[in-house]
Amino acid sequence: MPELDSGATAWILTSAALVLLMTPGLALFYGGMTRSKSVLNMMMMSFGAIGLVSLLWVFYGYSIAFGEDIGGITGDLSAAGLRGMLESGTEGGIPDLLFAGFQLMFAVITVALISGAIADRAKFGPWLLFAGLWATLVYFPVAHWVWGGGWIMELGVLDFAGGTAVHINAGAAALALALVLGKRVGWPKDKFKPHNLPMVLLGAGLLWFGWFGFNAGSAGAANGAAAVSLINTQVATAAAVLGWIVVEWLRDGKPTTLGAASGAVAGLVGITPACAFLEPLGAIALGLVAGAICALAVGLKYKLKYDDSLDVVAVHMVGGIIGSLLIGFLAIEVLAGEGNAGLFYGGGIKLLGLQAVGVIAVLVYSFVVAYVIGFAIEKTIGFRLSADAEVEGIDNAEHAESAYEFSSTGGGGGAFAAAGIGASAVPKPEPTEPVSEKVAG
């Protein structure tokens, strides 16, 4: 058993915390983009994912992803409950349990990413059910395929920090759910402008910050690969911000803050699979391409008429595809390993072909299974909120709260409240009638 490397262990401990922060960051990023009447539900989908997926990961998720391989398809259940790991090994110099904790954060955010496609209109209970089923049937096995010794890893597909396993995976599921749930009331005729752009920028900033743990932490050690990943993550993201806003400037006439924030995330997504395999100039090229193409890809939903509300498909699926495929062009052999030079660096077409296999496999599998799960939920317990509740606002309908209470006349002690406008406390009567709203909820 390798000895424990305290430098590596300290860095992965830190990285795990950084990656956790990405999910609340995502909640802010997504939450700011919704309308003010649905920001809480948007953020709850992320926090719900933190709660549920963390536990599933311990129960069996880690074991399916990283347990003993069964036929290249799944891990076994030998590590279910993380039992037997308390005193177990220090693979690569860090405790196995730390690796399990670091990877837990990836599972959480991958599930949370999907929620952006179904803003304003998905009932919360069914969302949690979907999150649990999708994590179980899609994320855990796909993480095994890509990182846990499964068939994609064995093929030699390169995915350093999650272009396929995280972003294409979540993006394809997002597309499936957007199709299952359908368009929001008024879309695409009405304008669905973000209600709080400073919040979007704060969320993008937290994602960017946490992403250093995501990418550089994926080196699994405090080493050269971590350093390459860190600088590449920074410059690819910077380039993507510029790439996105330039496209916007030319197409729409003005560069927007939403574009800058989306460009940053597109760059982060794009560099994720490739961050340890490129030179910084390659990372800049990748970032520019990811930013520009993802900016163009947000137009797809208007042409094809699917309401991917917060552009999860355009940013995560498309960005993940770009990053995964560009490895085939831009990888450098000394970083990516013997025989893994990209097309522009004297390599052949083989690596690009392998990358394409990884992309297509994860995309198709995730889309199909997500569609089936989503469709089954919609047809049984119902996934989509009623149109009435959607128009009134999902925050109040699903969570009995609203994000912003600004009125000086409303609220406790306010003039409206005193006059009986809004709710005031009344002694609860014994329920006589069946509370139909609640049951139907």
């Binding site: 695409p188 304008k191 916007e248 729409d252 208007y302």
Partner: protein
């Protein structure tokens, strides 16, 4: 007694207020409203999609006055609100049957 109601461009509010102040108008009420007239709305492009904005933000100004001052007030509001571009708004006058000052109970012209 008359009620002068003006729907104006938001940017002209300050000029209208100053003009009324100069005339010695003692009080007015303003509210944010949305609407369109002959200029209709316009189209906007955001994040690659084009939208029609039908209702534009306007300010409604309301002034209570007597029969003598009403013409001067209308003229002052129109002059102050005009930019010469489409969408400058409208001013209209309606008859008011009764006015009461809440604090004192004064009625009619005394309440103005």
């Amino acid at each position: 007694m008359k009620l002068v109601t003006a729907v104006i461009k938001p940017h002209q509010l300050d000029a209208v207020k100053e003009a009324l102040h100069t005339l010695g108008v003692a009080g007015l009420t303003v509210s944010e409203v949305q609407g369109y007239g002959r200029q209709k709305g316009h189209t906007e492009v955001y994040r690659g999609a084009e939208y029609t904005v039908e209702f534009l933000p306007k300010i409604r100004v309301e002034v209570l006055t007597d029969e003598i001052d009403v013409e001067k007030i209308v003229d002052a509001v129109v002059a102050a609100a005009r930019t010469g571009k489409i969408g400058d708004g409208k001013v209209w006058v309606t008859a008011v049957e009764e006015v009461v000052r809440v604090r004192t109970g004064e009625r009619g012209l005394d309440a103005l």
